[in-house]
C-alpha cells in the first residue's frame, strides 16, 4: 500500500501526513508541477497554504499540473483524502460538494476537538464504529463548511457526511456541524480536522490513525487483493 502526498510549495502539513501514512504503509511525496502520481494507491492532499492562498484558499492549487492527475485518478475510483487546505483544494476542483468559508470568528483557530463518526463504513471511516468519537485537532481560518440547504439534505440522506463536530465542539460555524464529507462515489473525502496530527500518544491522541488504517484496509481488500 503506497500513499502519495501532494507537495505544493506552500504545503505545511505534507511531511506530517507523510509520517502519519508511513505508520500504516509506504508513502512518497508528489511534486506539484509534475504530471506523475508515481503509481500510488491513494493520494493525500495535505494542509497548508498551497500557493500562499492570498486569493481564495485552494483557488490556484486546483490548476496545478499534479491536480490534473489527481482528478483523473479520482474519476477512476482512486482514493483521495483532502485534509484542511486539501479539503479546500478538492472543493475548488469540484471533486467534493460544498465550499469552505471563513470561520465565523474570522480568526485562525487551533483547538483539539471531538468529532463524531457519522458512518463507520467505507474507505475512510471503515475502521471506526458508527457514532464513535475521535479527538483530533483543527487549525484553520477558512473551515466553515457551506452548501445550500437542499444540497445539505441530499448529502445527509445519501450518507456523504462522514464526520460531524460533537455537540458544542463546532469551531468555525460549519453548517450542520459538518467536519468531513465524501463525494457520491465515496472515494474522495475531505475534512477540516487534521488526522495526521493525532497519530502519536505524545501528541495527545492516536484517534486520527483510524482514518489512515481505514484507507489501508480498503486498498488492501478492494484494490490490491
Amino acid at each position: 500500500m503506497k500513499f502519495g502526498i501532494v507537495r505544493f510549495p506552500g504545503s505545511c502539513d505534507d511531511i506530517d501526513a507523510l509520517q502519519a501514512a508511513t505508520r500504516v504503509g509506504d508513502a512518497v511525496l508528489l511534486w506539484h508541477s509534475d504530471h506523475d502520481l508515481q503509481g500510488v494507491d491513494a493520494v493525500i492532499v495535505p494542509g497548508g497554504f498551497s500557493y500562499g492562498d492570498y486569493l481564495r484558499a485552494g483557488a490556484i492549487a486546483r490548476f496545478a499540473p499534479v491536480m490534473a492527475e489527481v482528478e483523473e485518478f479520482a474519476r477512476e475510483g482512486g482514493l483521495v483524502l483532502g485534509i484542511c487546505n486539501g479539503f479546500q483544494v478538492l472543493c475548488e476542483a469540484g471533486l467534493l460538494p460544498g465550499a469552505l468559508l471563513p470561520n465565523l470568528s474570522l480568526k485562525f483557530v487551533f483547538r483539539q476537538v471531538e468529532v463524531e463518526v457519522v458512518r463507520g463504513l467505507g474507505p475512510f471511516t471503515g475502521a471506526c464504529e458508527n457514532g464513535e468519537r475521535l479527538s483530533i485537532p483543527v487549525k484553520h481560518t477558512t473551515g466553515r463548511f457551506y452548501a445550500p440547504e437542499p444540497d445539505l439534505d441530499r448529502l445527509e440522506s445519501s450518507g456523504q457526511v462522514l464526520l460531524r463536530y460533537a455537540l458544542g465542539e463546532n469551531p468555525n460555524g460549519s453548517l450542520r456541524d459538518i467536519a468531513g464529507v465524501c463525494n457520491e462515489s465515496r472515494n474522495v473525502f475531505g475534512l477540516m480536522p487534521h488526522p495526521e496530527h493525532a497519530v502519536d500518544p505524545l501528541g495527545g491522541s492516536v484517534d486520527g490513525l483510524k482514518i489512515f488504517e481505514s484507507m489501508r484496509a480498503h486498498v488492501e481488500q478492494h484494490v490490491l487483493a
Binding site: 505545511c12 502539513d13 500557493y51 487551533f110 481560518t141 502519536d200 501528541g203 495527545g204
Partner: protein
C-alpha cells in the same frame, strides 16, 4: 560619484548621525561621503545595527559553554543537542514597526527571526513570542495593538508552517506608547549543515535570493528603531515592511536544499538596513571585500535610486556566496522552488564594499569603517532620584478576603488564561510538539532519537523596574525553573534587552544593572548567552517603558515521554513546596492590583541554592517521581496551586507553612510538585490532591470550576 544636493549638516542630521559622528566619518574616510555612502554609514552606525550604546556592556555576558556551537556574532547562536544535531535560536524585537503598524510589524518580526535561523542552516521548528501592551481595560489603542499583533504573528507563523509553541504577554501602562513585540525562533540542523555568514574566496559569486527589492522599509533601522516615537507616526508607516510568508516558505526550503547539496560558501539574511548590512557583515566577518552591481538587482520599481536599493528593507531576501562552478546547480534549485536568484556581484581580495550603478562607482567604503569604526559609547548610569513609574488604578483595596483576591488575580489581564491568544496560533505543525501551551511550564519538542528539547521565554518588566539587577537575574532563574518543570537542563539562552533611551542616565543605569543581573545569573547556572538583540529608545513623552530584558532559554531532556506536566494528576497524590522560597509583596501582581508603584527591594536569591533546587526538580521529573511540577511565579503560591488544579481538572486540600504569604512572589525559586509519599520524602508536604475544590486551610475554599471560569474569561473581553 554623485555630488550632494544638501548642505552637509542637514544631510547627516536628517539621517540620525551626530556632528561628532559625521566628523569621525570624514576622518576615517579621509574625504566627504557621497549620498549613497552616507545613507549606508548612517544605518550601519545606527543603534539598531551598530549597538553603539550597548556593545561594551554586552561584553559582560558569559558566552562560553560546553554545548556551544555558534556564539554571538552569527545570525543565530547554536548549541549541541546530541545525536549529531544542533539547535540554533535567537530572539529579536520588532517593537517600533509594530507600534506603527501592528499586523505587518509583528508578522515581519516573525519573518525576520525565521530568516536569522535558516541563515545558519537550521530548519525553523518553533516560534515563541514575548509581547507587552498598555492596559487593555482603559486603552482602546492597546486592544487594537494586541488584536492586530497576535493576528500578524499567526498569519506569518501559521502560513509558513512553523509552530508557535509558547510565549508570554503582559499589560502595563508604561507600554502604552511603546508596545513590545519580541519573537524567538528555534531551528534544527545536523552539525555539518550549520553555516556561517563570513564571505570568503576572491572570485566567488554573490547571489541575491528571494523577493524583489522595493521602496518598503527604507530607513527602518534608523528611522524607527533608533529614535523615540512621537506624535506624527503615521508619516512613518511607509517605513514598515510588508510580509509575504509564501515567498519566505519557498526561500526557506530553497536555502535548506542548497545547503544540503553543499552549494554555498556562506549565507546571510537581509534584515535591518537590507543589502548594506548584509553585504558589509558578510565581508567584515570574512575579512574580504565585495563588489555589488545594483543594475543586476531585480527591482519592484524601476526608478529606484542607488541609495534606496542599498537600504531597502524589502522582506524575504537572502544573500549568499557560492563558488563559480556551483552557480549553475544553485540556479536550478532556485528554479525548482520558484525562488528568484540573481548574481549581483563577487568577492574581492580588497578591503572595501564597492557599489556599482550603470558602470559608475556609487559607493566605495572600507568594510572596517562600516563595521568596526562605529563609535561605541560608554553609558553614564545614574540611579533615578525619584520613582520613574507611578502606580496604576487600584482594583483591590487590600481588605478583601483571600478567595476574592485569588479570583481577582486569576481574572486579571496579566494572569488570565492565554487561550484566546494561543488558539490563533498553530502549535503542532511539523509533529514535534509533546507539550502544548497550558500543559506544562515549557514547550517540549521531540527529537528523532526519542529525546527532546524544551524552551521557555520570560520577562517581568515590573520586577526589573523595582530592582533591575535582581529582577533581571530572576528572569533567568524563572526560565531555568520552567525548564526544570519539564525535566530539561538548560543549554543556552538568548536575550532581548528592551529599554528606554540609553542616553538618559536613569535608563543607562537600568540597562547596566540589568545586564549585570543577567550575567550573574547566567554564571551561577552555567548557561551561556548564544546571542540576542537590543531594542533601545522605547520611550514616549511620558517616560521610558519598564526595563524589560526578555530571556529565551533552551534545554534538553533525555526522554520526550517523561516530559513533566503542570496539572495535578492523581487523586491522593501529596503536594509539596520545593525550593528556597521566601516571597514578598514587592513588585508582585497583587501589589499592582492594589495600585502600588513598582518600587522596593526584591527578595535576594541565593544563586547556589537556586541551581541545586532546579537540579533536584529536574531529576525527579525525569525519573517520574514528580507527577506534576509548576514554578511559583506571578500571583504567588495560591495562584500556582490554582493553576495546578485547573490544568489537572482536580482539587486540592492544602495547609500553607506558617507565615508564608499566599500571594507573595519570588520567581524562579519555588515549585509546587505532586507525587507519592515516597517521592516527596524530604520535601515540605503541604497538602493532597483530590476532590473538585481548592481548599487552602484558613484562607479560601473555591470550586475548581469557578477558578477555571474566572481564569478563562479574563482575556476574552480583549481578544
Amino acid at each position: 560619484m554623485s555630488s550632494s544636493t544638501y548642505s552637509l549638516d542637514e544631510r547627516h542630521r536628517q539621517l540620525g548621525l551626530t556632528d561628532d559622528e559625521y566628523a569621525r566619518i570624514l576622518e576615517r574616510l579621509g574625504r566627504a561621503p557621497n549620498d549613497v555612502e552616507l545613507a549606508m554609514l548612517s544605518l550601519m552606525w545606527s543603534e539598531h545595527c551598530g549597538y553603539k550604546h550597548s556593545r561594551r556592556l554586552l561584553r559582560r555576558l558569559p558566552t562560553e559553554g560546553p554545548h556551544l556551537l555558534l556564539g554571538p556574532g552569527e545570525n543565530a547562536g547554536a548549541v549541541d543537542v546530541g545525536g549529531g544535531l544542533a539547535v540554533a535560536f535567537k530572539v529579536e524585537s520588532h517593537n517600533h514597526p509594530s507600534a506603527v503598524e501592528p499586523f505587518q510589524g509583528a508578522a515581519t518580526g516573525v519573518g525576520g527571526i525565521l530568516r536569522d535561523v535558516f541563515a545558519v542552516g537550521a530548519r525553523p521548528i518553533a516560534v515563541l513570542d514575548s509581547l507587552r501592551f498598555g492596559d487593555p481595560a482603559s486603552s482602546q489603542r492597546s486592544r487594537y495593538l494586541l488584536d492586530r499583533a497576535v493576528a500578524g504573528i499567526g498569519h506569518y507563523g501559521n502560513s509558513i508552517g512553523v509552530p508557535t509553541v509558547g510565549g508570554e504577554i503582559y499589560f502595563e501602562p508604561s507600554y502604552e506608547q511603546n508596545c513590545l513585540i519580541n519573537a524567538m525562533c528555534l531551528g534544527l540542523a545536523p552539525h555539518d549543515r550549520l553555516i556561517r555568514s563570513a564571505a570568503a574566496g576572491a572570485g566567488n559569486v554573490v547571489v541575491l535570493l528571494g523577493a524583489l527589492t522595493g521602496r518598503d522599509g527604507i530607513g527602518g533601522a534608523s528611522v524607527l528603531a533608533s529614535a523615540e516615537l512621537g506624535d506624527a507616526d503615521d508619516a512613518k508607516r511607509p517605513s514598515v515592511q510588508i510580509g509575504d510568508p509564501f515567498t519566505e516558505k519557498k526561500l526557506l526550503e530553497c536555502c535548506l536544499e542548497l545547503l544540503d547539496r553543499d552549494l554555498l560558501v556562506s549565507l546571510q539574511d537581509l534584515g535591518a538596513a537590507g543589502l548594506t548590512s548584509a553585504s558589509s557583515e558578510m565581508a567584515g566577518a570574512g575579512g574580504v571585500g565585495l563588489t555589488i552591481d545594483l543594475c543586476q538587482i531585480p527591482l519592484r520599481e524601476a526608478d529606484m535610486e542607488p541609495f534606496e536599493i542599498m537600504v531597502s528593507e524589502s522582506q524575504e531576501r537572502m544573500l549568499c556566496v557560492a563558488r563559480p562552478e556551483c552557480v549553475g546547480a544553485l540556479l536550478d534549485v532556485c528554479e525548482r522552488w520558484e525562488v528568484l536568484a540573481t548574481t549581483i556581484g563577487c568577492v574581492t581580495d580588497g578591503d572595501s564594499l564597492q557599489v556599482l550603478h550603470r558602470g559608475n562607482v556609487v559607493a566605495d567604503v572600507p568594510v572596517r569603517v562600516l563595521i568596526d569604526d562605529c563609535p561605541l559609547y560608554d553609558l553614564r548610569p545614574v540611579p533615578p532620584s525619584s520613582d520613574l513609574y507611578g502606580g496604576s488604578e487600584a482594583v483591590l483595596s487590600g481588605e478583601e478576603p483571600p478567595a476574592q483576591t485569588l479570583l481577582a488575580l486569576l481574572g486579571s489581564a496579566n494572569l488570565a488564561s492565554r487561550r484566546p491568544v494561543y488558539e490563533q496560533y498553530d502549535p503542532i505543525v511539523q509533529s514535534r510538539t509533546a507539550r502544548r501551551p497550558d500543559e506544562a511550564d515549557a514547550a517540549v519538542l521531540m527529537l528523532p532519537d526519542g529525546s527532546a528539547i524544551a524552551v521557555s521565554i520570560d520577562g517581568n518588566g515590573r520586577r526589573v523596574a523595582c530592582d533591575p539587577r535582581r529582577g533581571a537575574a530572576e528572569t533567568v532563574y524563572e526560565c531555568s525553573a520552567n525548564l526544570a518543570c519539564v525535566g530539561a537542563e538548560p543549554l543556552g539562552l538568548t536575550n532581548c534587552l528592551n529599554f528606554g533611551n540609553p542616553e538618559k542616565p536613569h535608563v543607562a543605569w537600568q540597562l547596566t544593572e540589568a545586564v549585570e543581573g543577567l550575567a550573574e545569573a547566567c554564571e551561577a547556572l552555567g548557561v551561556p548567552v548564544v546571542g540576542g538583540n537590543v531594542s533601545l529608545y522605547n520611550e514616549a513623552p511620558t517616560g521610558p517603558i519598564f526595563p524589560t530584558p526578555v530571556v529565551g532559554m533552551v534545554g534538553k531532556l533525555p526522554h520526550a515521554d517523561r516530559a513533566g506536566r503542570m496539572g495535578f494528576a492523581h487523586e491522593g497524590d501529596l503536594i509539596a513546596l520545593v525550593g528556597p522560597f521566601e516571597p514578598s509583596m514587592v513588585g508582585s501582581e497583587l501589589a499592582k492590583l492594589r495600585g502600588e508603584a513598582p518600587v522596593g527591594e526584591l527578595p535576594v536569591a541565593d544563586a547556589g541554592s537556586v541551581r541545586v533546587v532546579h537540579g533536584a526538580v529536574r531529576a525527579r521529573v525525569r525519573s517520574g517521581a514528580f507527577r506534576s511540577a509548576h514554578d511559583i511565579a506571578e500571583g504567588g503560591v495560591a495562584t500556582a496551586l490554582a493553576e495546578c488544579c485547573i490544568a489537572g481538572e482536580i482539587g486540592a486540600l492544602v495547609r500553607l507553612p506558617h507565615g508564608l504569604d499566599p500571594f507573595g512572589e519570588a520567581p524562579g525559586r519555588g515549585f509546587i510538585v505532586s507525587g507519592s509519599a515516597e517521592a516527596l520524602a524530604g520535601f515540605i508536604v503541604i497538602g493532597e490532591v483530590g476532590g473538585d475544590v481548592l481548599q487552602i486551610e484558613g484562607l479560601l475554599d473555591l470550586a475548581v470550576s469557578e477558578l477555571r471560569q474566572v481564569r478563562d474569561s479574563g482575556l476574552t473581553e480583549w481578544v
